[in-house]
Subunit: 201 residues, 2 copies
DNA sequence: GTCTATAGGTAGATAGAC
DNA sequence: GTCTATCTACCTATAGAC
């Protein structure tokens, strides 16, 4: 069989943890989603917390690596921002569970979770982007801007629509089918917005 | 006594629900935080869900009202955006629990929660702001931009740093004391960023 | 109104047959 | 490895004394 039980569990767990959050997720529900018995969850992962960690540890490094590839590339600033936004939103489209997942943990035990995250070998590191912004600014090529606020602006605009998705869909009357299209359109909207804010005339 | 037991419960519940999320919050913990007995929680609010609703129903209308005052004001566009960002961030500084609170519910039962939210008499309604953006754009006063994306951009940049606070503090090495200062500085950073992106030269 | 004690239900984890 | 059955712990909610 190409797909192992362990993989089935990880996939099902990812779905349920995403939808419910860690505390509200039920081992029974994960077992049902994986079409296996609850006992098997413990056979493979011993505890709920272990299972959660396994899910997260599988997803996070992939994410961090793709992002850092862009941060550390030699692209000119505007192209780098465009590449970052495109990649970031693509990742989130393919893993819509990720932000809620992270945010949930971030709120239940912030210091421990962040400490663990930042101690990893592969973690998002926007410092090279921030230095690049500083250089362009000092060279007078872009309007003056605080690079940290800029970085947070870009990340905020990219991530938030995934976290607040149901709210946005409700407020602006966007149905499920249109949301994918909407998020793809956002890539260009964000990039142009940021470039307009930075470009000197 | 100026502070009733009911108020003590509501305050304690707000804290615990915020910190733990609905599912992980324990009635015992709320009782402890309020310095009262667990039985009293049920005497006053009958169930955990009722208590949660009471906490939320107390906070939400205040929030929505203040925001709508700005949306519906007659301020010119740039000033309205500035007023919105200032007010929004001020509210979140004073109620840092709110975003996590909303987001948590948003992820556990999205459709029901959003439906309830949007059925309320007082709810955030950005439509007037969006119409105003359309008008300024058609009059050629600002650069072309999709008003919905713009609205989401502004909201994203304001809210996200509160949701992702521990992450941002970790990534950029901002300690607790400096974070308030940082969020206050963000008001101006966001406003200027948006105006730069929109202003024609 | 406030407390203690406990009922009732559910979820995570384990044991043991196959 | 996979299943069923069960244990144990905990949490919401209630009952009842004061």
């Amino acid at each position: 069989m190409g797909i192992t039980t362990e993989e089935k569990i990880l996939t099902a767990a990812r779905e349920v943890f995403t939808k419910k959050g860690y505390a509200a997720a039920r081992m029974q529900e994960i077992a049902d989603a994986a079409n296996i018995n609850k006992g098997l969850l413990h056979y493979y992962f011993r505890s709920k917390e272990n299972l959660f960690r396994a899910v997260f540890d599988k997803a996070f490094p992939k994410f961090a690596h793709q992002i850092n590839d862009i941060f550390e590339s030699d692209l000119p600033l505007f192209e780098k921002i465009e590449a970052f936004v495109n990649k970031y939103i693509d990742i989130l489209i393919q893993n819509p569970y990720l932000p809620a997942f992270v945010l949930n943990e971030l709120n239940t035990n912030p210091e421990e979770f962040v400490k663990d995250l930042l101690s990893r070998r592969e973690k998002p590191n926007p410092m090279k982007l921030i230095m690049q912004v500083k250089m362009e600014m000092e060279a007078g090529n872009i309007k003056p801007v605080d690079p940290i606020h800029l970085a947070i602006n870009v990340i905020s605009m990219s991530v938030f629509p995934f976290i607040g998705r149901p709210m946005i869909q409700g407020l602006f009357q966007i149905d499920d089918a249109a949301y994918l299209q909407f998020m793809n359109a956002r890539k260009k909207a964000i990039t142009e917005f940021v470039i307009n804010a930075l470009r000197k005339d």
